[in-house]
């Protein structure tokens, strides 16, 4: 019993120490962001790596998710003779929930894991130590540009995912199942609101997810044990922790934004 309590206590101490380190790390990274303005090129290079290179998986997934929504939405709505509302159903589902959430999950798997592995390997191969000894702060030179690139890329990717998803829903609903094209677009136009849906859903949610996923990814890499096993564990942890964080935060944000 004592051993169990001791183990629990040790786990708790380690957990909170790590949480504390992660927060201190976060504030250091935030403090380093203004220094990126004169050298924004570093951020653009990272946006290519985390954003542009994630485009393919985002677009393909968005298309299929939109197509599935179109199909399932049509089957349900047609029972009530409300197929014309398919455009609204697809758009609202994507804008409020699926767009930001699935983009964040894909982003964690594609870009988050790559960030963790890259930073972890830089640590394991003494590149971060080497920078420190060259009087270059790795937090400013390596971490901050990657963090900002992730935070900026995530909303853009969510917008793309959502837009492609709507096209996927249109393709199935209008193209294959015969929903009226005018009704599809006009109802969507009438019911989807800029502030309540698009700003809250796609922009704010995906911005928050971008901050959390990228923070977890860069911290896990920076805090990784500098061995191949350590980097592997850190990469797995990034995907698991950020996926759970996204799903939990989605509930909180949805409750705050859409609870009427």
């Amino acid at each position: 019993m004592i051993a169990l309590l001791r183990g629990l206590g040790r786990w708790g101490l380690r957990f909170f120490a790590r949480l504390g380190r992660a927060h201190i790390f976060f504030f250091y990274v935030i403090a380093a962001l203004p220094g990126l303005l004169p050298r924004f090129r570093l951020v653009v290079i990272q946006m290519w790596a985390v954003g542009v290179l994630s485009l393919l998986i985002i677009i393909v997934s968005g298309l299929f998710v939109g197509m599935v929504l179109g199909l399932q939405g049509y089957n349900t709505l047609s029972d009530f003779g409300a197929e014309e509302s398919l455009g609204v159903a697809v758009a609202k589902s994507l804008i409020r929930e699926l767009g930001p959430v699935i983009t964040a999950l894909l982003f964690a798997g594609r870009a988050g894991s790559a960030l963790t592995a890259e930073i972890g390997l830089m640590k394991a191969t003494e590149q971060l130590d080497g920078m420190e000894m060259m009087a270059v702060d790795p937090l400013r030179r390596v971490i901050a540009p990657r963090f900002l690139a992730g935070v900026l890329s995530m909303p853009m990717l969510a917008v793309m995912f959502t837009a492609v998803g709507v096209i996927g829903g249109y393709f199935v609903g209008v193209g294959l199942l015969g929903v009226d094209e005018g009704a599809f677009w006009s109802q969507m136009q009438a019911k989807v609101e800029l502030r309540a849906d698009i700003v809250n859903g796609v922009l704010i949610k995906s911005f928050v997810f971008g901050v959390v996923v990228t923070w977890i990814a860069v911290f896990e890499g920076y805090d990784a044990v500098p061995t191949s096993e350590g980097v592997s564990i850190a990469t797995t942890r990034t995907v698991v922790s950020s996926s759970l964080a996204v799903l939990a935060l989605d509930f909180v944000l949805t409750a705050l934004m859409f609870n009427q």
């Binding site: 830089m122 191969t125 590149q127 130590d129 080497g130 920078m131 000894m133 009087a135 270059v136």
Partner: protein
């Protein structure tokens, strides 16, 4: 205010040893790595820190560069107490120190040219033409001017260390610390690195600290040597004096004897007892 100014002013810049280590104590994972160690690194010389694997040689370099903090004692580099500096002041001091890591620590996403240009771009506002000239000069000094377009993955281990050396001298530092520069090198690469360390030290007026366990190569270029074991300095002197040392420990290390104060067998129960343990049971 006066006290602050006093504490930032180097105690004896330009005089005495460049690095002065006093009463250094450091432990890790419950193991004492340094126990009251004193070391002086003279200016303009090549000083070797030697000892078997795990004796804390690399740790010593990290302590000198203030990447690690000692439990007690002081490390003063050119009159500046390395462990009593703000982060900004520490980085200013590090600009005058170069370090060659065992792995080279080249930035893998940058070419050879960009790796050498990295500290220049980070710390100076020199025009591109000047950076190009400086980088080519540093690469020429290590014989790799024509390899400037290669990526780190295309370099052999020896070439990577030479590029790292060119990068370490990019800002014309006052000292360079070499962490195991010869390990895993073929005889030609090793010969090149041995010569480079000596030649660059003399030509650029550097102070070099070479951490190594390659006795012959290190002794051939060192002006002074320290031998570490069990957290203490067990021998020091010129390579010639070390070759004639009376200490069993120093002799075992210098001559590479398989048994001696450092036993061949890992400590454990008696061999015969161990073999007969099953029968006796």
């Amino acid at each position: 205010m006066a006290e602050q100014t006093e504490s930032k002013r180097p105690a004896d810049p330009g005089h005495g040893p460049l690095v002065r280590v006093r009463g250094l104590e450091f432990s890790r994972g419950g193991r004492q790595i340094f126990d009251d160690v004193d070391i002086d690194i003279p200016r303009g010389k090549v000083t070797a820190i030697m000892g078997p694997s795990g004796s804390g040689k690399t740790t010593l370099l990290k302590l000198i560069g203030a990447q690690l903090r000692p439990e007690s004692g002081s490390i003063v580099v050119d009159g500046v107490d390395m462990h009593n500096l703000s982060r900004q002041a520490l980085f200013e001091t590090r600009k005058r120190m170069g370090m060659l890591f065992q792995s080279g620590a080249l930035l893998t996403d940058l070419s050879v040219f960009e790796n050498v240009a990295f500290p220049l771009r980070e710390h100076t506002r020199l025009p591109e033409s000047m950076i190009r000239t400086l980088v080519l000069m540093k690469l020429e000094a290590v014989g790799l001017r024509s390899a400037r377009g290669l990526m780190p993955r295309e370099l052999s281990g020896g070439m990577a260390r030479r590029v790292a050396l060119a990068r370490a001298i990019a800002l014309d530092p006052m000292m360079i610390m070499y962490d195991e520069p010869f390990s895993g090198q073929d005889p030609i690469s090793m010969g090149i690195l041995v010569q480079l360390i000596r030649r660059l030290n003399d030509a650029l007026g550097l102070t070099s600290i070479v951490v190594s366990h390659d006795v012959r190569e290190t002794a051939s270029i060192a002006d002074y040597m320290y031998v570490l074991s069990d957290g203490k300095i067990v021998g020091e002197g010129t390579p010639e004096a070390m070759g004639r040392a009376d200490s069993d420990w120093v002799r075992q290390f210098m001559e590479g004897l398989p048994d001696g104060p450092v036993p061949f067998h890992y400590p454990g129960p008696d061999y015969v007892d161990d073999l007969l343990a099953e029968t006796r049971r």
